[in-house]
């Protein structure tokens, strides 16, 4: 992912490097003085494919930032589907996870919000219904009978929003489209639509916008047919039961203070995000409403 580090962050990164060396030395000294930390003390952070790609540089910067902010080592856990990460989180095998708004509302009674990304100044994003640039469709109806690419059955923007749109028309994906499939990645939806494998796709608007900047040739083969209303950005959540644990509080602080640190800055710049902030659960009420509608009209 060729995201560029912004100039202010470079200056901060230099200063951080000195501090980081000292910090590393202190940590090394501490680890020599104290007995080795056990694996169960490791903070496990789950990531879903909401990320643009499994970019090693991004993950490295994120790990460095979190490790520096937390008093314990951080492990980044990646899985192919939303469901796997959600399951791990619910099972307590992850301390926190960056999940989608849809699983959050599905398990809202078990999960709490740690932080929500801020995109263009707000913790909101949209779902895009995109079509191949050759397609002439101007609205959802124009996509009827085609092949449709969804991102993930547990994705809000990549599945629920479109499914809700169809439910409003008393349709299901199977009845409306000739064929549909899941690509398990928003970028894959763009690839599928751009190549013509699918005539249309449901994709995270934020991902599409960032890709338009980073991979303009690929995105140029797609066209946005419909943008959804603004919805709560995929949040970082934890089990409500562990919400008040010190590690989680430190983790939440590390996320919300990301802009203040060079590695965090690098992460945010690569993700094209302004930062993280705390948000009320009500942010996800529109998603909850869609979920409920779909469930009752299925």
């Amino acid at each position: 992912m060729p995201a560029r580090t912004q100039a202010p962050c470079i200056a901060r990164e230099r200063g951080w490097n000195r501090r980081r060396v000292l910090g590393s030395l202190c940590a090394a000294g501490a680890s020599l003085a104290a007995p080795p930390v056990r694996a169960q003390t490791m903070f496990r952070f789950g990531l879903t494919p909401v990320f643009l790609d499994s970019d090693a540089r991004l993950l490295g910067a994120l790990e460095r930032h979190l490790t520096a902010r937390l008093t314990q080592p951080v492990a980044l856990v990646q899985r192919r589907t939303y469901q796997e990460i959600t399951t791990l989180l619910l099972a307590g095998q992850l301390d926190a996870a960056w999940i989608c708004g849809f699983p959050f509302v599905q398990y809202r009674d078990q999960l709490s919000l740690v932080a929500v990304p801020v995109y263009h100044g707000r913790p909101l994003y949209q779902s895009y219904l995109i079509a191949n640039a050759r397609e002439t469709a101007t609205d959802v109806e124009g996509l009827r009978g085609g092949v449709h690419a969804f991102s993930d059955p547990d994705s809000n923007s990549g599945f629920l929003v479109t499914r809700y749109e169809l439910a409003m028309r008393r349709e299901t994906p199977a009845s409306f489209f000739r064929r549909f499939f899941f690509t398990y990645g928003h970028r894959n939806v763009v690839r599928a639509v751009a190549s013509g494998l699918a005539q249309s796709g449901s994709v995270d608007g934020y991902v599409w916008e960032v890709m338009a900047e980073v991979e303009p040739e690929l995105v140029a083969n797609t066209r946005v047919v419909r943008r959804s209303e603004w919805l709560g950005f995929p949040p970082v959540a934890c089990l409500t039961a562990r919400e008040d644990a010190p590690a989680l509080r430190a983790f939440g602080a590390a996320l919300t203070s990301m802009r203040d640190h060079p590695d965090g800055c690098e992460v945010l710049d690569m993700l094209r995000l302004d930062g993280f902030q705390t948000a009320p659960r009500t942010l996800f009420n529109p998603i909850t409403a869609m979920h409920d509608f779909v469930r009752t009209h299925a």
Binding site: R134, V147, R179, F181, T183, Y184, L197, A198
Partner: protein, 494 residues
């Protein structure tokens, strides 16, 4: 336009290089054919291997997705594979598209979904490729190849992977090899032909030298081959040149000898001519002296004076004729000299002195019909010589006859008969041998002159012994209708 000569007659400098070039071209064609056939075979094997490797990878990657009929994952595999930089392999046989079909023939996914939409049946043109017995089908004119692989799980067919490849790269390599082979072989052939030409030209140089010097001999100039040519040649031609020079030397010596002999012969002939002339002048001299004597004693008698003066005049005329004849004969004077009966009658006067001195009876039977197309001077001289010889051979008081006529066969026949003891054999030989006779000696000079004149006039001689003794010599001379008398042969002029 000149016709091309038969190949057997072509010069070696052309034929050998052409032969070399032809052989080279034949060998080059054969080698090129083998190389190209081998290349084609290798390329086929390479393509087969390349396609098999490619399909193996695809089949393994696609199998789990085929089981689930997962459109995206199948596409992802095909798409990533097609985007992968194939390196050298891709340059020679680039995959144009890859697709995977389900057992019902519908497309599950293709690297080019726009051309092969999901769920659509495989286009009819590609269906035979899918069912081809061979995994690899090559369409050389179309510069395409297709390879397919059936994917199964536990014996259950899941689908088929089909890859279309652009084999233009491979064909270009083959074409490049062909052009390179043709260029190199053409270059080699031309070079060898040029070398052959230069070599054969160099080898044949001695032949050309020899030819030039043989040609000089033909045109009469005998020259040895200069040493500088001999020094430059190897053993065979050097030996040949030395032999030629030895031959040329022998030839030159022979020619010099012949020239010397000719010069000597010329002198001898001059001698004979002089004595012949003296003889011819001497013959009427006797008659003229007698006429002068008669004038001296009986000059008062006008009849005798007139007769004697006439005799002297005729004698002088005869001498003049002899001299003129000699001049004409020996200086090759051109022109026609006819013979009239009067011309022949003159001879009687020239011979009369000898006849009368020996008291012979001369029977003169001149039957010439008038002007006759023969060399009159020659005939007169021959007749005179024969008469003088006959009068010398005949006994005193005998008879000498001359008969001249033109026969039915168009020949002049001049016969002189005597009553002598017969012509000696060697004298007959001198007559018969004509101009080729050996030097006759003083006695036979008259006959030798006859022989030479006879040869020039193209005539022949008949010598017969008379029944009552004596000899008859008949000269037979061809008569030309027109005035153009044959010219005297060159050697006689020497």
């Amino acid at each position: 336009m000149r016709r091309l000569p038969h190949p057997a007659n072509w010069p070696l400098t052309v034929a050998v290089p052409l032969l070399v070039a032809g052989l080279m071209a034949a060998v080059a064609s054969g080698v090129s054919w083998i190389v190209l056939a081998r290349l084609e075979e290798d390329q086929g094997a390479y393509l087969r291997q390349l396609a098999a490797t490619h399909l193996d990878g695809l089949a393994v990657a696609l199998q789990p997705h085929l089981i689930r009929q997962d459109v995206w994952e199948a596409f992802d595999v095909l798409d990533r594979t097609s985007r992968r930089d194939g390196g050298i392999a891709a340059r020679f046989a680039a995959a144009r598209f890859a697709l995977v079909t389900l057992p019902d023939g519908s497309v599950l996914a293709a690297s080019d979904p726009l051309a092969f939409p999901v769920g659509a049946p495989l286009p009819a043109v590609l269906r035979p490729r899918l069912e081809a017995p061979d995994e690899l089908v090559i369409d050389e004119p179309g510069r395409l190849a297709w390879s397919r692989r059936r994917v199964e799980a536990g014996g259950v067919p899941l689908g088929t992977v089909l890859v279309e490849m652009d084999i233009g790269g491979l064909l270009d390599v083959r074409r490049h090899a062909l052009t390179t082979l043709v260029a190199i072989n053409a270059g080699l052939t031309l070079t060898l032909a040029a070398l052959g030409y230069a070599l054969v030209r160099r080898l044949l140089r001695p032949i050309r030298v020899l030819d030039a010097y043989v040609e000089r001999i033909r045109t009469g100039r005998v020259e040895p081959i200069p040493a500088r040519f001999i020094a430059g040649e190897g053993s065979e031609f050097g030996r040949l040149f030395r032999r030629f020079n030895a031959m040329a030397e022998a030839l030159a010596e022979r020619e010099a000898l012949a020239a010397r002999l000719a010069a000597e012969e010329k002198l001898a002939l001059l001698g004979r001519l002089a004595s012949g002339m003296a003889h011819e002048v001497n013959n009427p001299l006797g008659g003229m002296l007698m006429a002068l004597d008669t004038l001296k004693h009986h000059g008062d008698d006008p009849g005798i004076r007139s007769q004697s003066a006439g005799l002297v005049e005729r004698g002088l005329k005869g001498i003049g004729a002899v001299v003129r004849a000699a001049l004409l004969a020996y200086k090759e004077a051109p022109g026609v000299i006819g013979l009239t009966p009067e011309d022949l009658d003159d001879v009687r006067h020239l011979a009369l002195h000898d006849i009368q001195r020996r008291r012979l009876r001369l029977v003169w039977k001149n039957d010439l019909p008038g002007w006759v197309g023969v060399d009159g001077a020659a005939v007169r001289q021959m007749a005179l010589n024969l008469l003088l010889n006959a009068s010398r051979a005949s006994p005193v008081g005998g008879e000498v006859r001359l008969e001249a006529n033109v026969g039915d066969d168009g020949h002049l026949r001049l016969t002189v008969r005597d009553q002598g003891p017969g012509l000696p054999a060697e004298m007959a030989d001198v007559l018969r041998a004509k101009g080729g006779a050996v030097s006759p000696g003083a006695r036979g000079l008259g006959l030798w002159t006859i022989a030479r004149l006879l040869e020039w006039a193209g005539g022949s001689v008949e010598i017969a012994g008379e029944p009552e003794g004596g000899t008859a010599i008949t000269l037979v001379l061809p008569v030309v209708e027109d005035a153009a008398l044959e010219r005297r042969p060159q050697d006689a002029a020497a």
